[in-house]
Amino acid sequence: MSESAIAFDSGRVVVRSEPWLARVVIIGLTMLFLTVFVVLPLVIVFAQALTHGVVAYLAALAEPEALAAIKLTLAVAAISVGLNLVFGLIAAWAIAKFEFPGKTLLITLIDLPFSVSPVISGLVFVLLFGAQGYFGPWLQSHNIQILFAVPGIALATTFVTFPFVSRALIPLMQEQGTLEEEAALSLGASGLQTFFRVTLPNIKWGVLYGVLLCNARAMGEFGAVSVVSGHIRGETNTMPLLVEILYNEYQFVPAFAVASLLALLALITLIAKTILERHLDEGRQVRDH
């Protein structure tokens, strides 16, 4: 008995000591890779933005063009996040709480914006609303401007960021099932009361998580927006578009100053995401209890 225990123990020591070197190498490689490809570029963005000091940095951000781009980006993000919050909730609700034919197809379609190149996403709207597009002549005759204006940018952004909220909610709502909603209904609650008092409180962290990722992508979207924006300075340039224009004109400090704001957004998103994931995990543990 004791002999076999010893043999077992020594066996374990051997097994543990062997991959020690491998572990160091693997962890080291990962750290090196992250440093070179993620941390370094991030540091360079801030370093470049501040090469001529804080005053130049702030002055670059106070330029009318930069301010217009920031304002436009915020507005577009607000519109697309708002729309996707509503669409995402409805889609997730439909998929998680009801059985209907074509459900699998719908789940696949929701992911379409993720699998298609953003440039295509932008082109689709050009084909629909452009001067030669399906609705172009009608829109022109009614004097409605969609392409090369805020509506087009908002539409393209909404399309590209559509999956975030519903993706965050579908597994969560499927896992929670419909029992609590049924309990609420049998206690006399109306559909809306059930939604606001039972469903929404149970998915609130998931909603925030989806909104956060949706917002980060909405503010950072380049490809689709680039196709539909028309690059009118001070009018239809979002922050990512402005960064490219400034960079191409060799205005490095303003380019990196605007870029640094986007990088900052990324960092804040990352921190908020970590906090939200902790809440979501806690919720999961509570359910498993």
Binding site: L179, E180, E182, A183, L187, G188, A189, Q193, N202
Partner: protein, 345 residues
């Protein structure tokens, strides 16, 4: 309130969950729907609650068509199998929920709601848990809070889905007794679903035994236990010994051996059903005998596996006998059913 179900049918795809169910539930009754899983008992309960809709048939409450009303308008209290407590609300808010969602015109004021919740928490003897969250409660406590929540709006019917299903044996026993006395206290028409015969026989005034979407028997616990109407009920409730027999020319045969017992009004291949404790080992011969294969003793009884020859086949039955008559492995014994039933195949 009386509940009347007429010819209820419900299909899920090709599966007939309910196949023409008729049932009348009297005012103030405590009724058990008993059956194996897939027998349709939970579907029936959900149809009464308005959480599912039948494909055909009628549901009426006190003569009024209940199908015209949604779940929220039926004044039904439903206790879910896994309680379905609102996890983001305290116990107090869970119980208060049904009171808070009422239309403003008939809603109690805050003091009224507080008083009512307090009253219910006292009723289920858990007033000291008001500020806890559902995850901080034990299974038995959650069950009682779910009950308090369902009772808050003064329902006319109380429906419980497997109320003891998720509890361990000791808590289960306590809660059974408690539910009975609660029913005596509030006397609201109650229906509960269970797959456990002990739950049904110990708690209910009347038991409805269901199988494959149909009602097999309705009766008091004593009736369904002592006078099972069908082979299914005999096999499902209590422990039965089953032997294949043949009924011809007014005699019961096991294999080619005639049995000295009264033949029923059935013919052809049948099954002889005997409660395990009703099968005696004795000297009195009715022509039924078997070889003792294995004996184990515990408590006041010994349990034996006995092989009975039935024609070419051998059926091994398990019976309980008192310990004073010791059985030996290998010996052949005479079997004598004190009471029995024969059902045609």
């Amino acid at each position: 309130m009386t509940i009347e179900l007429t010819n209820i049918t419900k299909r899920f795809g090709a599966f007939a969950a309910l196949d023409g169910v008729d049932l009348r539930i009297a005012d103030g009754e405590l009724l058990a729907l008993l059956g194996p899983s897939g027998s349709g008992k939970t579907t029936l309960l959900r149809i009464i609650a308005g959480l599912d809709w039948p494909d055909g048939g009628d549901v009426s409450f006190d003569g009024e068509n209940a199908l015209a009303r949604g779940a929220g308008e039926r004044q039904v209290g439903f206790v879910f199998q896994h309680y379905a407590l609102f996890r983001h609300m305290t116990v107090f808010e869970n119980v208060a929920f049904g009171l808070r969602v009422k239309p403003r015109a008939i809603r109690k004021d805050e003091a009224g709601i507080r008083a009512r919740v307090k009253e219910l928490l006292d009723l289920v003897q858990l007033d000291w848990l008001a500020d806890r969250y559902p995850t901080q409660l034990s299974g038995g406590q959650r069950q009682r809070i779910a009950l308090a929540r369902a009772l808050a709006t003064e329902p006319r019917i109380l429906l419980l889905d497997e109320p003891f299903g998720a509890l361990d044996a000791k808590v289960r026993k306590e809660l059974r007794r408690w539910l009975r006395s609660l029913h005596e206290e509030i006397n609201v028409t109650s229906v509960f679903v269970t797959h456990d015969q002990e739950d049904a026989l110990e708690v209910a005034n009347r038991v409805v035994v269901m199988d494959k979407g149909k009602i097999e028997q309705i009766g008091t616990p004593g009736e369904v236990y002592d006078y099972p109407a069908t082979a299914f009920v005999h096999g499902f409730i209590g422990e039965s010994v089953v032997l294949p027999v043949n009924v011809t020319e007014g005699r019961v045969w096991i294999g080619n051996q005639p049995l000295n017992i009264a033949a029923p009004n059935v013919g052809g291949p049948s099954k002889l059903y005997v409660r395990r404790h009703d099968m005696q080992v004795g000297s009195e011969s009715i022509g039924l005998r078997g070889a003792v294969r294995h004996v184990r003793s515990f408590g006041a009884i010994q349990r034996a596996d006995i092989a009975v020859c039935a024609g070419g086949n051998e059926t091994v039955i398990e019976i309980d006998t008192p310990r004073d008559h010791a059985l030996r492995t290998g010996e052949t014994v005479e079997l004598h059913p004190r009471r029995y039933r024969i059902f045609a195949d």
